[in-house]
């Protein structure tokens, strides 16, 4: 596998951040496996997932770090922000406290990533509309004020989950195309993989295991 040419031309690094229990791991699982985990234990530190997608007929491999919301892991998870091209920042529409904490997550994301990192706000669990505690409008306004992309999603039904991950990639790709994202910058979170085996540009990226079981 490793010896052959790459079957994708870019690698984008993502992180998923937000409070405990908002559904970060379920969103990742829904995106990579198209399944919902009804009973999901709290993440220990970080989990890792990958999926290859297509944007503008370019194959792009997403390397996704799903971080634990537990306070104990804040130092652990912060070390994964570095060099992220995309950050999915998640709250739970049925729990106002998770929405109120967004500004602290956003501060972290802004401080620890680069200025071009695409930040996408996700209001998860939109299937639970009856228990809604945060309106769509106010979250939309928060997103606009802070220059974030925004969708309400459901990791349970799968609604808008693909769109959140794909729209983030499209935006990153667009930033590459218009030159605002410098691929040679140390922490752009993007690696270009020409269709040749073994590329020397592996700075701070983890080893790319195709057969990751996560």
């Amino acid at each position: 596998m490793a010896a052959g040419p790459y079957n994708y031309s870019y690698i984008f690094k993502y992180i998923i951040i937000g409070d405990m229990g908002v559904g970060k791991s379920c969103l990742l699982h829904q995106f990579t496996e198209k399944k919902f985990m009804a009973d999901c234990p709290h993440t220990i530190g970080v989990e890792f997932g990958t999926r290859i997608i297509e944007v503008a007929s370019q194959k792009i491999k997403l390397q996704i770090w799903d971080t634990a919301g537990q306070e104990r892991f804040r130092a652990v998870t912060r070390s994964y922000y570095r060099g992220a091209a995309g950050a999915l920042m998640v709250y739970d529409i049925t729990r106002r406290s998770t929405y109120n904490h967004l500004s602290s997550w956003l501060t972290d994301a802004r401080n620890l990533t680069n200025p071009n990192t695409v930040i996408f706000l996700i209001g998860n669990k939109c299937d639970l509309d009856a228990q809604r505690d945060v309106t769509y409008e106010e979250a939309k306004q928060f997103a606009e004020e802070n220059g974030l992309m925004f969708l309400e999603c459901s990791a349970k039904t799968g609604e808008n989950v693909e769109d959140a991950f794909l729209d983030t990639a499209k935006k990153i790709y667009q930033n590459i195309q218009d030159g605002s994202l410098d691929l040679n910058a140390a922490e752009s979170g993007v690696q270009h993989k020409p269709a040749t085996p073994r590329n020397p540009i592996t700075t701070d990226q983890p080893p790319n295991k195709e057969n990751c079981s996560c």
Binding site: T43, G45, E47, R72, V76, P207, C212, S213
Partner: protein
């Protein structure tokens, strides 16, 4: 799982958290969080002596862990530590202990699978069983965990 287990820490991070830890040690009180952060840095160091030290700090945290969630978290990182120093049989005892707390924990299952694959590759699985090492160690770790659990 390999990505998570085999990754080495940025030496600057290690230095930073070591500084915080030493500072608190000097003042006479080390918070649980500071100890955990430092231990986590140590087990991901390049140096085996650091990894041992990290495991010891985590085992210390295990003893004072107040709830299942924190116990589970410490068990996981101890297991990672043992994998990194290639003490696979001991690592397996810790993934097993996590499963007692959370039978469906995917991360523990994945780590377990990763360790077994490594043992198979190194030809250790058969050897350890023949040598009875698994049984002996199992008793030891089991006793520690049992001691923590009854409170």
């Amino acid at each position: 799982m390999e990505t998570i287990v085999e990754e080495n820490i940025d030496p600057n991070d290690l230095k930073k958290f070591e500084g915080l830890y030493n500072e608190q040690a000097r003042r006479g009180h080390i918070s649980e969080k500071t100890q955990f952060d430092y231990a986590w840095c140590l087990i991901r160091s390049r140096y085996v002596s650091d990894m041992h030290k990290g495991i010891a700090l985590l085992e210390d945290l295990m003893r004072i862990a107040k709830d299942d969630l924190s116990q589970r978290d410490y068990l996981f990182y101890i297991a990672v530590g043992f994998v990194r120093i290639k003490e696979y049989e001991r690592a397996l005892k810790y993934t097993e202990a996590i499963r007692k707390i959370e039978p469906n924990n995917r991360q523990a299952q994945q780590l377990d699978g990763y360790i077994k694959a490594k043992m198979k590759k190194d030809g250790l699985l058969g050897m350890a069983i023949v040598g009875g090492a698994v049984l002996a160690l199992g008793g030891l770790v089991g006793a520690t965990i049992a001691a923590v659990k009854k409170k």
